[in-house]
Assembly symmetry: C2
Homo-oligomer: 369 residues x 2
């Protein structure tokens, strides 16, 4: 069951019930404008990843800033976006299983929906679903450009699958998915740049080989918040799939030459125990702020460190007793990783200048299928 909203419009931030997912609207709007300004001179389009925000409200704001559509990882996410008015959704992932593909094909009746494949059996299954629904589905070939996860090797294996897609009656070959996920969090700028240079070269050669076989490649998609400047400057990538730029994770801020975005997303938490002078305990553990990419930071309190998370408790180490958090005090945590954090909540509490301005549902919360 969804949880009730933890706030009402007009409340002061310190009145919001906790744990709550706070969106600082000034910082969020800054980030949308900053990304648009950064990409404009490159000519590369932005297709933000909705696996980060899970919200048609946010998707439509990104598109008002020039984004051409949205990415998702799951059919259930694509449904929530398309039902919520997003006209163009790319599933940057393989979709396996007849039940899921039937849903995807049904969705193609109300929105432009594309999907990835890396296996001939998948191409056949997507074709069958498209035929049954009487739709035509654009399909991208996912290539492995360094992450060693999904995707065919670049070059001939990818070209062969593209030809198979192009030869399918209810599919069209839409391009290459060439995301290098593990490059996003490489700390050293030179190594990040080198990883993306290699990925772009794989994509460039595959596009060339497609052309030699008479196949046009309208889209080359990839990039995340950690590396997008390199893909955008490559001359190969046509669409940037960054998601975190809107919120800015603590972990992205740990990259050297970190991307120029502000932290806009926070978990508001309450000090629920301060029985010892050097320890305070928050009501937000790893169920409230997942720790897969490191522990959260405490905003504006450099002498207070979040040092361990259990299910429902976050332990703070107080390095300076003068800065000791009071029992009942509310603190903003900067999540290590915004994507799984957002997916823990039913509501964004939008705040500006200390007041609650809006409540946006995390409509695709838990949409994993």
């Amino acid at each position: 069951m969804p949880q009730p909203p933890p706030a009402e419009p007009g409340m002061r931030e310190e009145e919001v019930d906790t744990p709550a997912l706070l969106l600082d609207l000034d910082a969020f709007e800054h980030n949308l404008a900053a990304m648009a300004a950064l990409l404009a001179p490159t000519g590369t389009k932005l297709r933000p990843h909705a696996k980060t925000h899970k919200s048609p409200v946010i998707a439509l704001r990104q598109m008002a800033h020039g984004a051409i559509g949205q990415c998702v990882q799951k059919v259930a996410e694509a449904e929530i976006l398309a039902w919520g008015g997003v006209p163009d959704v790319m599933v940057t992932n393989e979709v396996v299983g007849a039940r899921k593909l039937a849903r995807l094909a049904a969705l193609a009746r109300i929105a432009r929906v594309s999907v990835c494949a890396d296996d001939p059996a998948q191409v056949a299954a997507i074709e069958a679903a498209a035929e049954a629904a009487g739709v035509r589905i654009p399909v991208l070939v996912e290539i492995d450009v360094g992450a060693a996860r999904c995707g065919l090797p670049p070059g001939p294996p990818a070209v062969a699958l593209a030809e198979r897609i192009a030869a399918s009656r209810h599919l069209s070959f839409h391009g290459l998915q060439a995301y290098h996920g593990s490059a996003q969090h490489i700390r050293e700028p030179e190594r990040r740049a080198a990883a993306i240079a290699a990925a772009a070269e794989h994509a460039r050669r595959t596009v060339e080989q497609l052309r030699q076989r008479g196949l046009d490649c309208p889209v080359v998609g990839g990039a995340g918040t950690g590396t997008f400047a390199h893909e955008a400057a490559s001359g190969v990538y046509t669409e940037i799939q960054a998601g975190s730029y809107a919120f800015m994770d603590a972990d992205y801020a740990r990259n050297e030459q970190a991307p120029p975005f502000r932290h806009s997303l926070f978990v508001l938490a309450t000090v629920m125990s301060a029985a010892s002078p050097h320890i305070a305990v928050l009501d937000a553990g790893h169920k409230a702020v997942p720790t897969d990419s490191g522990l959260p930071l405490v905003q504006g309190r450099e002498r207070v460190r979040y040092v361990s998370a259990s299910d429902e408790h976050g332990k703070l180490l107080v390095e300076d007793p003068a800065d000791r958090p009071r029992l009942g005090e509310k603190l903003r945590l900067i999540p290590g990783h915004c994507d799984p954090t957002v997916d823990r909540y039913d509501w964004y509490v939008g705040v500006r200048k200390g007041r609650v301005e809006c409540l946006w549902p995390v409509a695709a919360r838990g949409a994993m299928a």
Copy 2:
């Protein structure tokens, strides 16, 4: 929004849509009976922790096996249980904030609801909420028996707070909360036993000092699935608060002399990419199976290891090509940590002998406030 159920009763397990939270009903029922049998000779009562299962359906089944009530960590969890018919709920945690305390006091009108405190200011706040609601609330003093998280030091500080509670018109002193969380996952049996022996000694001495001050201590609560045999045998603890015993995490199975329960909870996942001979990729990453206590295990496939989780991808390393998972194949994952895993889903899919038998809502999913 809640997600639709991924299955229908009567389906074969391999037809269930993924990712799905699977409950093997035979193993689950075995675990409930096994815990009842283990505790019976000790005379210690079982009050299972609902932060693990988040379900009134499961709570009532545990109580049919002799459990005297339920524990929770959050007021929102207490509400879901009490509204769902559970008559006795203990919040084994501090509750801070007037809004939350008013909800707790309202709940005391329909169920027996107790709560913990470790600060005089909290006692005053609970008293005010109880007075406003016209109820009497039993309050436990939380003592720190080794976890260095919430709780007062054992002995005189705890006794002083107990006296304050006993002197409050709308509160009653209910006992001590003495949970040693960090002891649960100590691997070596001797060190686990020593940690609990020390915790029990702290509790015993505090009970004695309470008695010297004329205060009866009806309840001493604590223990988890990793250590409960020691607390139950201590002669000090009256209530065992284990939760994971019903499901049995992969991480508890890594303890030496692991507790004697069967894995009953699984995440069912589909192989969505198998483009390389030594790698297969599941549609269940850390959003589907949180990794705070280690990666999941693949049930029944010893030569296939889950080696890394990203948001929506789980990478499998195939050590023996003969055991290579097929594209589209569904595998059962044993979660490293069941508590946060359950909290990712809206439905339990109960299976027995390969068929779906029931669908139980994870009614307190996301109940963090």
